[in-house]
Every structure is written in structure tokens, then in C-alpha cells.
Symmetry: D2
Subunit: 333 residues, 4 copies
């Protein structure tokens, strides 16, 4: 289970929580322009846009959970069990596998508009990377500063939806979330007035009571509503650090804390990592469950014309800053 | 508005979110054993237990928002507007002001049990620190590894309550929260079974659906329930870093993100800082709204027998770790 | 479990749902002015106000679940398990048993104001009617057209509360409900506007969406909120039949349907009857679970100066009006 | 806005609440077998199954809100604003208008299975009854004792869905409700156990607390969930009167009380009538907002071979049964 959001406040940001009960060998991976990308059914790309994101690398192939390319287009895959459907053979012009579609789109598209043209002519086909590597059931959010798109491979084909909220979680399919949101339109971030009934005398006993009714559990529909509420009421200074900080605060509000979500098998579903990419600069910010400190990898600081993948390991534990004695007798603070 | 929790997992931790629409000049402050503490109505303490916590220092006086002493007793004040009542003159044996009560208790009590004996004989009197420093309306949570206590100064006097949840937020008075919790006893962190009705065929469409109904807004009653749910289902390795990390994850789940709560005046109520104290070691961990990285101040690393306050400034912006190139061509990951 | 409400719309009405998993032998009972009322500890009343209500009669004693007297004062007892406390011996001026308190108050008080004076000096003592008749754990709502009062016998004594909502259900004690109501002040009967967040475009997909968040279960706290919402938004023509009809519609909205509430023992908790009394005219309207048709007993049509109880059996099944052929060829409707 | 349900308990019942802010001139109307039914685009039926239901009759045409035919097939139209779409010209074999579709289907189909075959080949076309009679935006529920079907005329055509819940309300389209229901699978009619978290000690303070979280507002999505909950937990004796009584109790639990739902124009949306048809016997039971007493019209008691419509007016006010003196001195009850 996952939550993907966009955020616009001066600059444009794209990122997500990845919620899972296990690790998939993820590292931050830069695919520079000249690293050859191959596809099961489509022509290889020897040269393409560079991209950065979280991926496991199998047999030299960057299997991205999400990435942003040098043009500022972002794309993320999110768990979509029971609904994702990959035909063995597609009927449209392009046929790409679920794990190829992120590099395939980000390799050649600069905008959501371009990506949409490709996706409209594409099928996601059910060809696994290898016999022993099962396909993950996924749907996708794509975004640039002009807007967001949802792509869902279902039985009827690959469906595309405008996403006015810039939020995606998991099941059910996207149209449900769009409609479900309307149930919450009466909520407000403002201090509420008594609207319960004429003649009643009621006052909020605390702050934040205009949003009573906002769901707080970690189910996909509830995370969608909560992420949307926090995002659309968000305020931050229009500066890089403030924006990045705010982006992670939004993601924190829908993160899964270890133990609060158990799978049917009793395993702990947690937010293994959160990330935020500045789509203009290509800096990939992230933090892991075990380390609150924000990490950053700057794609442009590396050789974007290179021909080898660059991978960055994730920190394994809290990087706490121990404060040395700085005080002293305070005569009068 | 604030949220205070305890957490036991091998070691015992005490901490809180402080939610406010402004800063009160807070710094991490160690009061060593020989820093003289004076009180408006009670005898001064020249020598006392040392303590560490977040405080503003006015005229040399450490006005703690919360602190933990060297014996492992923690105490926090939380906003209690409209309900806190401080008589001008008390009727009981001890008379302390709201801003004195934390150093007064932590200075001389090693346990909740001792603290209770003092508080049972105490009134919180409405004497301001200075003419131009209004008294904050507060109630308090005290805790050590044996349990937690809530102290609420209301019109009927200073009321004390056992706190089986180890959670405190704000209004209404504590008995309301105790009762309100019972409304949520049907929620579960586990994958739910269909219990809706015999003959219906329903399956959860995602993880976490046993807790649908958990409140997600930032009002005090909703934060109480959510903090309790996340805390009581929490799982972590019984190690210091994992525990501290987990403690902040719990606090993150009830934190106020800038913009999601506006006061009546339209100001942004946010979680200005979060803290977590290991009650045994006296290490005070904290992070601020503007910096996700956890900071630590170790009381025992300083001169606990000193006679001067030690104060540590708070970081003002994200301390991001920029990752240098560490990768290279990955032949086969 | 039960729900008691008042309703003012030209005339003033008092009534309730009685929710129980069994019958207590209830009948509509008129106690005329000269029927002698005796009390375990207080002086008998040979002459008193007449009253009408639902009661079981044991050994000639009218054990009222609720009643209204000829002066327009109503009083109802509602289940209060775990909280009701009856000392064996009281300390105040008057000592009445729980099953006596309704005839005792209604026998001699014309208004809530008078009733309050008596109740302030009264204890409800734990003396059963007979050795084999256990005392029901109860709290009470009293009302006349000037307002409503709640009386709760708890360990600290008989507590009295103004009731601005004119609604009572069951546990927890009344102060909880008063506070709990404030959580719902943002709800509205009106068509809601989008207040979710600036920049979002949301419209209600149906009527009634300003009240999304109103609780729909049958628990006491949820029934309290729902009854208050429906009552305080209620609209009806200011005529007797319209008011009575509306009163039952309000009660229907919080009624327990057979099967939707099972007790710990698996028994079906249902709304065995609903009643509505016009406090001015003394007409007692009621309907039972098994018969939707409203029945009426008019106290003033009987001999109010009589000295014998009058009892009216409850109908056992639907009194359906079968419509005879009334139509015919409609040439042009 | 409306709620339609089926109920099986020995016999099979079909019925609905009709929620509207105005009257549409409705009467109970029997269309006997030989009353000629004409259609704008399809062949007239001179002879057909007889049917009974609520209808306005315009120019001799029975415009049914819902009806049940002599074979036990029921069909109801429910408001579907913003989603209902009627092409001016259809592309399928049959073309019927929205107000014709109920008599068209009930006239010639004995079962849901047969109805489905017709509907699969039908378009609902946007031809009004007359120039000044606008088409209502509708979707439909059909049911017999074997199951229920939903038919929704949307832009993509007339969509058909199996309805495992036997419940229909209004917007959004049916697939939303199917999915939305899954969010509530953790609710239970039984006395709940504490599942909140190990180590917590919580007990329900009242009956019905396993269903806390059930929505109580009158929006279509909330009514769907509540109606389904009450229906699927319903228990009644397997007798006609008990079943009919229970059916109306279920409908009462989702009825709109005057004032609790205001339209955008400030008008009062209320449950103008509720009905319940025994599909086997053809008895049409109903009650109106203004009269709680259940009325019945028995189709088989009339001349089902007739050639004229039979219409029955609705009662306008409460038909209260005034109870005469029946009591007397009760010596010992």
C-alpha cells in the first residue's frame, strides 16, 4: 500500500510513501542518458532522458518504484492488487511490461501530455522479468507541473484519468476515490461555526474541530482523503527547504507506523521509505522508516551523460545529532 | 494543543508533541541539581533532582513545557483552555503556580507515587510569573515506568486520575477521553473479517481496513484516540534507536501539519516540536517542525551537580544529508 | 437502552422510545388524583396530581417507565447500567426509591422548577419493591415547556443537570453527551458547500451530504447525537396531528430494529414502544414495535378524580387498513 | 432520493422509501391484464401481466415509481441525477422511455432472468411523455425471490449489475456503493469485544457499540450502508404481519424526517411514502409521511382481468386509534 502526492508551491514536487511489509532491495538509482534501456517487446533506447528514483536493480535493469526524469516528469507505481490486469498479449501499438513502463515513459516523454499520447496506444502485458520474478499488481500516477494523470491496467484495458487532487493510494480503482472524496466536502481546516441546528448553543472545545469526520485509519480510501485534506490545506514558505520539509510532513500524516497495520498473515505493513523530488532540479529527497533525517541525491551533480547506473544505499538507522554542551549559566534569558 | 504519550518497550520513554500557532522561546534546558529553584509560596529548593526538558527561561526561571528528572519521572503541561481553573488562594497544604509545578514536582519526587502524594495536598494558584505574563491554562500528565497520572486543575480543585492509556491531549477534561475511547473498541490493527451480516460476502479491498472509523482530524478527542491506537498496536525492536524512532513515528501520526488547523484568528496551529525522553538514561531526543532530523541532549553527559542552567538552541531548518556519489556501474545487482 | 426527547412547536410534547430485549408487562396507566400513592420512606399521598404513562402495575403500584401529569410535567426513567448507584440509606431530607420517584415527583410538582427543589433534597435509596424484584439502574429526564432537567443517581449522590438539548439516552453519564455533541457542530441539514480546501472542485452527489459524519448506530452516544440532530432541524405544521406525527418520525430515526442490536447473551434489543404526550392536554400517544398505527389515551376523557388505576392493554399486531375498491377507470388523471 | 430494498423471510418482499421535496400526484394504481399499454417506440400490449404500485396517472398512462406484477417481479425507479443519460435515439433492439420501462418490463417478464434478457437489448431513450413533462433522471432496481438486478442508463448505455445486497439508493452509480460497502465489513450487530489493542482494558458502555461507525446521515451512500446493515441483521417471525412490520421498520431506519435534509433551494426532502409488496400475494402495503398506519391494497381482490386502471388515494393525516376506557381498578396486576 502506498500514497503518492504532488505539491506545487513555487516549485513543483512529486513523491510518495512506499508502504510494504518487506523490503524489495530498494536503492536510489540514477539512470543516466546513455545507459541502454531494453524492453521485452519494444525497441531498446540507447539514449534517453536521465532519471532518478527508487529502484531495485535486477540483472542490470532498474525496476523503479517511482522516478522523475530530467524534464520534470514523474511517475510512480502503486500496489493495485485484485484490480491490476495484464493481458499476455496486447492489442495496441505499444506493448510494455509493468516493470518497464516507468523507464519507457520517462525515457522518452517530457510532459504528462506526451506520456498520455504513448499510454493511450499502449497495453501493459503480463510478461515477467524472469520466470521466478512475479509481476507486481500496479497502477500508476504521472505528473508534471501542469497536472496529474492516473493509469490503471484493468480488464477493460489501460484506463487513463485526469487526477485533479494530485493524490493516489491503492484500491479501489481511481473513479471510486474521486467520488468518495465528495463525501468529505463539508470538512474544513478553519475553526468551525455551529451549524448543527438553530437554537442549539455549541462551541468547539478545541482546535481542528472543523475536520471531525476525517478518516484516520490506514486503509487506501482513508489515506486518499486524509492526504488530500492535508495537501490542499497545506501552507509553506516558498523556499526549497520549507517546501521539502512540508512535503514530508504531508506524507508523515498518512504514513504507516509499525504495528498499526497487520496483513492477513500477521506481518507489519510499514512506510519503508518516503521521497520527494523537486521536478525542476532533479534532486531526490528521501527518508526511511529507520531514519527520520532527510537524505538527498542530486541527479545533476552526477554525470547525466554517463552510461552506468548509479546506486545509493539506504541508511539503516537513525542518524541522531548529539548536541554538545552549548549552554552555560543563563543570567537572564 | 498537544499530545503526550508514554511508551514501554524494554526501556521506558516519555514525550510529546507541542502544537501551537507561535513559538514561546523554547530551548532544551537542563536544570542541574544545585541550580536554586524558588517558588512564589513554597520553600525554595537549593538542591534537588536534576531535570531536562523544553523550557523558556524567564528571569532565570526554567518554565518547562515538559521535563524528565534524573529518577525517571516525567511531567508535561498541555493546553486546557476553558477548563483550567487556578484559584487566587488555595486551601490545601501546598500552593504552587502552574509554571512552577513541573520543577516543584520533578525537583523532589522520584516516582508517580510520590508525586501523587504531593499533588493530593496541593492547589495550583493563579499567581502569574509577572504582571505582564499571563498564566497558560494547563493540565498535566506525569509518568514513570509504573504508570501514568493526569492532574487537572478545575473549579472543584486539582483532580487526579489514573491514566491507563498513557496518552493525554487537551480538552475536554480527562474523564471524557477515558469514556470516548470505549466507542472505538471494535477497531483492530488486524486484517478484518466480514462481520457485517450473515449472508453478505465482503472482503477488505486493502490493508488496514479493520481500523476504518479511526478519527483522522486534529481535534483533541480525535488525536487522543489515534495516538492510543497507534501506541497500543506499536511494535519495535527492543533497542534504543528503534524505540526512539518508533516513538517519533507515533507522534508523527498525530502531528499538526502547517495549514491543516487554523485558529479562529486564522493562524496556523502546527507541531512546533516533538520530543522523547529515555526516562532511565535522561537523554532528551527532539525534532522541530523545520527539521526532521532527531537531535539529542544527554543530561548525564553534562555536570548534573552544576549550579547553572544549560540551554540548547533549536535548529531552524532541515539538516539534509546530501549523498555523494557512491555508486557506479552495477553489473548485476 | 432508550431515547427520550422533548419537542416544542406551538404545543409542548414529551416522549420516548423504550428499547429493551424483553417486555416488562407494560400498559398505559392513568393514576387519577385520588388513587393513594405510598412510599417506602416518605409520607403517602392520598390526593395528588393525576398522571398518565406507561407502567407495569405490581401489587397495585404503578411502576412508571415515564409519565406526564395534569400540570404538564413529564418524567422518564432510562437505563443507566453500571453508573446508577442507590445507597441503602440516604443523607438528605427525602428518601425515595427509583421506582417511586416518578409518581412522587409528578404527584406533587407542577413544573421542572418545583421538581428540582425536591430532587435537590432527595436521595434515591436502594430499597427494592420486593425481595424478588431487583432495582433497575436508571437515570431520569424531567421536562416541561420551560426546559429539561437530567437527574442521575451516581456514587457521589443524585446529580442534576440542565439539559439544553432536550434529549436523553443512556450511558455514559450526561456530561459526556453534552461534550460529545460539540464534536458534531460542523454538521448541517443544509446543502453543503465545498469547504474541503481552496483549489478543489467538489460537489455533493446527493441530498443530505452536509450531515455526513452523523453516527447511525444504535449505541447510546450515537442515538443522542442523531436524535438531537433530527429534533433540532425538525420542521412541522403547528397542528396537533402534524406535531404528533413528526414526534414519532423523530423517534423512528433512533429506533432499534429487531436484529440490529444483539445483547451479550444474543438477545434482540428492540424499541418495544414509542410514546408522545401532549403536555398541555394530557393525551398519551403511543405505538408498539408490532403496530405502526398510533394509539391514543386521553387522560382528561377519564375521571381524573377517580380512585382507581386505569390500565390499557397494548396492541399485539399491525392494525392494517385494508383499502376497498375505490378506483375505477381513470379517463384522464 | 430514495431507498429500495428486498427482504426474504419465508415470503419475499419488495419495497421502497420515496424521498422527495414535493408530491407527484401519486396514488396506488392497479393495472389489470387487459388495460392497454402503449409505448412510444415499441408495440403496444393489449394483454399483459397485471401489476400494482405507486403511480401518477397522466392521460391514462400509469407512470409507476415502482410496481410488482402478478408473477412476483418488482421494479422501482430511483432518482439518479447527473448520472442518468437517455440518448435521443437508441442503437439496440428495443427502445423504451424511462417512464415506460416499468410497465414494459413488468407487463411481459415473470422473472429477473427474463427481464435481464430484455434489458440487455434495450436502450432508454430520451423521449418525454409530453413537451411539458420533463424526464426524471432514474436508475432502477428489479428483483424477484431469486435475486436483484440494477439497471443504470448512463452515457455508455444501459448498464446491468447483479445486486447481492438487495439495496439501492441514489448516486453515485451502483459500482461505487458495492465498493463502499466493504469499508464497513468490520461492523457488527453483536456485542463487541475489545480488539483495540492488547493491554488495553475497554468495555462497551452500552448496547449496539459493535456498529459504531455506521453512517447516520441521509446521503445516498450512507443510506445504502445503513439499510444494508439493518436488513442483513434483521430478524422477524416468519409470518406475514411480522414480516411487513419488520420491512417498514427497516425502511423507517433510513427515512428522511422533515427538516433534516434541505435541498439547495431550502426545500424539505422527506420520505413521502414507504411501501412493501408481498411478491407472491400481490398485496401492496404502504404508509405515508402523514400517517403511520399501514394501508393495504390487494391486487388479487380486484378484477385482475379488468380493462380499467384502479386508483387508490393516499391518506392525508394520522389515523389515530383513540382508546376507550378499558381499565378499572387493578387490584393486583
Amino acid at each position: 500500500m502506498c500514497t503518492c502526492i504532488t505539491y506545487e508551491n513555487g516549485d513543483f514536487y512529486f513523491g510518495r510513501n512506499l508502504d510494504l511489509e518487506y523490503s524489495f532491495g530498494e536503492r536510489v538509482v540514477i539512470t543516466p542518458r546513455n545507459y541502454p534501456l531494453t524492453f521485452k517487446k519494444e525497441a531498446a533506447m540507447d539514449c534517453h532522458y536521465s532519471m532518478i528514483g527508487m529502484a531495485s536493480v535486477m540483472g542490470g535493469y532498474p525496476m523503479y518504484a517511482e522516478a522523475v526524469n530530467e524534464k520534470g516528469l514523474g511517475m510512480a507505481g502503486l500496489n493495485f492488487p485484485g484490480n491490476a490486469f495484464y493481458p499476455l498479449e496486447g492489442k495496441k501499438k505499444y506493448q510494455v511490461t509493468p516493470y518497464e513502463v516507468i523507464p519507457w515513459i520517462l525515457g522518452c516523454c517530457a510532459t504528462v501530455r506526451e506520456a498520455r499520447m504513448y499510454l493511450e496506444q499502449a497495453d501493459l502485458v503480463g510478461i515477467p522479468f524472469a520466470a521466478d520474478v512475479p509481476l507486481a499488481p500496479l497502477h500508476f500516477m504521472l505528473a508534471d507541473k501542469t497536472g496529474a494523470l492516473v493509469a490503471e491496467p484493468v480488464e477493460e484495458g489501460l484506463k487513463l484519468y485526469e487526477n485533479p487532487f494530485g493524490v493516489l493510494t491503492n484500491n479501489p480503482p481511481f473513479p471510486f476515490h474521486l467520488m468518495n472524496m465528495q463525501q468529505y466536502l463539508n470538512l474544513t481546516a478553519k475553526a468551525p461555526e455551529n451549524r448543527f441546528g438553530e437554537g442549539t448553543d455549541m462551541k468547539p472545545f478545541g482546535q481542528g474541530m472543523g475536520a471531525v469526520g476525517l478518516p484516520g485509519d490506514a486503509s487506501p480510501a482513508s489515506r486518499f482523503v486524509r492526504a488530500a485534506f492535508v495537501k490542499w490545506n497545506s501552507r509553506a514558505r516558498r523556499e526549497e527547504k520549507a517546501n521539502v520539509s512540508q512535503f514530508f510532513h504531508i506524507l508523515d500524516s498518512v504514513a504507516m507506523v509499525r504495528g498499526m497495520v497487520l496483513t492477513e498473515e500477521g506481518r507489519e505493513d510499514i512506510t519503508t521509505y518516503s521521497c520527494c523530488v523537486n521536478a525542476r532540479t532533479g534532486v531526490y529527497y528521501f527518508k526511511t522508516y529507520d531514519n527520520h533525517r532527510i537524505q538527498a541525491v542530486d541527479m545533476r551533480a552526477e554525470d547525466m551523460d554517463g552510461s552506468g547506473l548509479l546506486a545509493y544505499e539506504l541508511p539503516l538507522e537513525e542518524d541522531i545529532q548529539y548536541r554538545l554542551k552549548q549552554g552555560g549559566r543563563t543570567e537572564d534569558a
